[in-house]
């Protein structure tokens, strides 16, 4: 490294640097051609009105009117954006908690562990891409079932519990959020396959001797969960948090993204859809940056 600062690089190092660049050259070319260029172009496009003609397309600058239109004229966009963000935060938190909990259980020794792991990982394969979007259509059938059940005067424990808590009058909105999450536990379980695997890989790197030391010092299992396990996997929390947020943005059933794609494909309004996409992207990145900064301050690095 010092040699590099002096501006002189030895022959071998230079050769290795060139080989390294050769290895990653596909990425650099792809990144510049299919990432940087389109990014800049789409940013520019968001300030323009794009007219597609035969054989070419023209861009006419029109200032920030696309952004104005998106927020002040379009009836759905700002509402969808706000709702999307609320959902993203609530669901990402729920997914983190669920994945951590499940991975703690799956890390224990018991019969049929491999089988259970295989099942929990199944959603990664089966509910990706288009299938996830179609899965939500099943809600129609679920509703039919619900109405049938209601008419049969079946009383479920959870429904009664919900009613009691609702009438309590304190923190009703918080309860509603919790109820919604419980009702959608299936979605959460589907979305947390990769996170469980990542947590598991983190849990397996914790040396057993640490737990032994903790138990000799008089820690109960509950205490060693918070004093040993939690700090040791705290860096994994950061990885998973970023992954969850990004995954949420790319889901096929994300309403904001659907809106953007519709604007582009159906209305052929390329400028407006770019503006919408950029707003969403910038907001997500800002949120991601702030939250990861907050988490990373609490992350404990063992090595």
């Amino acid at each position: 490294m010092k040699k590099k600062l002096n501006g002189k690089v030895s022959g071998l190092e230079k050769r290795r640097a060139v080989t390294g660049y050769l290895f990653i050259s596909p990425f650099i070319i792809g990144f510049l051609l299919f990432m940087v260029k389109p990014m800049i172009q789409s940013l520019y496009m968001s300030f323009c009105e794009v007219q597609v003609g035969a054989g070419s397309f023209e861009m006419v600058r029109n200032g920030i009117s696309n952004y104005k239109y998106a927020f002040r004229v379009d009836p759905d966009y700002s509402r969808l954006l706000l709702e999307g963000f609320g959902r993203m935060i609530v669901y990402s938190l729920a997914i983190m908690v669920f994945a951590f909990f499940v991975s703690l259980i799956l890390n224990q020794e018991f019969h049929g562990r491999a089988f259970v792991r295989a099942i929990f990982f199944l959603p990664v394969i089966l509910s990706s891409g288009v299938i996830l979007g179609l899965e939500t259509d099943n809600s129609v059938i679920a509703q039919m079932h619900a109405t049938v059940e209601e008419s049969m005067t079946n009383v479920s424990v959870t429904a009664v519990l919900e009613d009691i808590l609702r009438t309590a009058g304190i923190g009703t909105r918080a309860y509603e959020t919790v109820f919604e999450l419980i009702d959608n536990i299936y979605d959460i379980a589907l979305a947390s396959g990769i996170q469980i695997i990542v947590f598991l890989s983190g849990l397996q790197t914790i040396p057993k001797s640490m737990y032994e030391a903790a138990s000799i010092e008089g820690c109960t299992s509950w205490e060693s969960l918070w004093k040993v396990t939690f700090p040791m996997v705290s860096s994994i929390f950061l990885v998973n948090w970023v992954y969850t947020i990004v995954d949420f943005c790319m889901r096929t059933d994300n309403e904001v993204m659907t809106k953007i794609t519709d604007t582009m494909v159906d209305q052929l309004n390329y400028g407006l859809s770019s503006a919408m996409a950029w707003c969403y992207f910038v907001l997500t990145i800002v949120f991601l940056a702030i939250s990861s900064f907050l988490i990373s301050r609490r992350v404990y690095y063992y090595e």
């Binding site: 990425f27 138990s215 997500t284």
Partner: protein, 338 residues
């Protein structure tokens, strides 16, 4: 619990076993009882969660064998009264399953191989070589993971619609090439590491290569192997597990992907794209059969949709059954860190 185990261990060593047993049994019974209780709670919990994940698939299977009449029959819930495979025949017809299956197979295989090959090169470069601006480029990889592809979709769409490599095409033919409608755009994207989740593969492969000891590489150099020879003969065989699992992921995600397929693979008939339009196809098909414009009932179109979904995920389930280890184990052994 381990406290009691530690305390009781020295006590048992002094005495003979037969005398010790009655004293020990109280503690041991308590321990066994607690363990049994924990196992029981864990079993209930896991059983419930597993059932929740699998239930929709079972439900789909049972629905897919029902006739239309069974769907409305309130008595029929899980086991069809009139067993039929007509739904499968109709779904296969609507999706043109054979053609779509073949196309999807070819596309997923070639795309998966291409992506893994390119990502391996890049990952190896990042893991094993020092070069100026390395941190910057790796930051770009991370950025690539974070940025949703939808943001550039507008621009890429137009980019490929009016494709022109450095103004070369315009020079020769006087016009830009319309790559939209062909499969080339996605192969170009994949060759440039910009396919579906390619940043993730680069990251994983790099993580794996970093864990291979440096001595192995140095020994190869000392023995006179060149850069490429070292890479192919020494490094690649070692990295087989992670390459296999990256390929599996790439295959599976490509198989079900709707976004990239619709944008960059043109009008190629794939299982994923044909599934997403199966409901519309059904109504047009029924209209053409009967000659009357009718709306298909929600239950029936859902039934056909379930059948179609099953037909699509069946190959994946088989793949998962045989290559489960490739999916789970190697991913958890890479030791993902940040």
């Amino acid at each position: 619990m381990s406290n009691t185990a530690v305390m009781s261990a020295p006590a048992s060593t002094g005495k003979t076993k037969s005398k010790d047993r009655p004293k020990m049994s109280a503690l041991r019974k308590k321990k066994i009882a607690v363990n049994a209780f924990i196992s029981f709670v864990r079993f209930i919990l896991l059983f419930g969660l597993c059932f929740m994940i699998i239930q929709p698939i079972l439900n789909k299977i049972s629905v897919s064998f029902m006739t239309e009449g069974d769907l409305y029959d309130p008595v029929v819930i899980n086991i069809p009264a009139h067993f039929t495979t007509a739904n499968y025949q109709l779904s296969a017809k609507l999706m043109s399953y054979k053609l779509a299956f073949k196309n999807s197979m070819i596309t997923s295989l070639t795309i998966g191989l291409l992506q893994v090959a390119v990502c391996t090169l890049v990952g190896y470069g990042f893991a094993r070589y020092d070069f100026p601006l390395k941190k910057f480029w790796f930051g770009c990889v991370l950025l690539m993971i974070i940025i949703p592809p939808q943001i550039m979709s507008t621009s890429l769409y137009l980019h490929f619609k009016f494709f022109d490599f450095c103004g070369l095409a315009k020079l020769i033919t006087g016009n830009t090439i319309n790559l939209r409608g062909s499969v080339l755009p996605y192969y170009l994207l994949s060759a440039g590491c910009m396919g579906l989740k390619n940043g993730l593969y680069i990251y994983l492969i790099r993580q794996f290569f970093r864990n291979i000891p440096k001595e192995l590489e140095e020994a190869a150099y000392v023995d006179g192997a060149g850069t490429l020879k070292t890479f192919i003969i020494i490094m690649l065989p070692d990295a087989k597990p992670i390459l296999v699992s990256c390929f599996l992921f790439s295959f599976v995600w490509q198989w079900t992907d709707g976004f990239y397929s619709r944008m960059f693979l043109g009008n190629l008939k794939l299982v994923s794209t044909s599934l997403s339009s199966i409901a519309d196809d059904l109504s047009t098909y029924i209209a053409s059969q009967t000659g009357v414009q009718t709306t298909v009932s929600v239950a029936y179109s859902n039934c056909i949709l379930s059948t179609g979904t099953l037909m699509i995920i069946l190959p994946l389930i088989f793949l998962y059954l045989f290559a489960q280890k490739g999916f789970v184990e190697s991913l958890s052994s890479t030791g993902i860190k940040m």
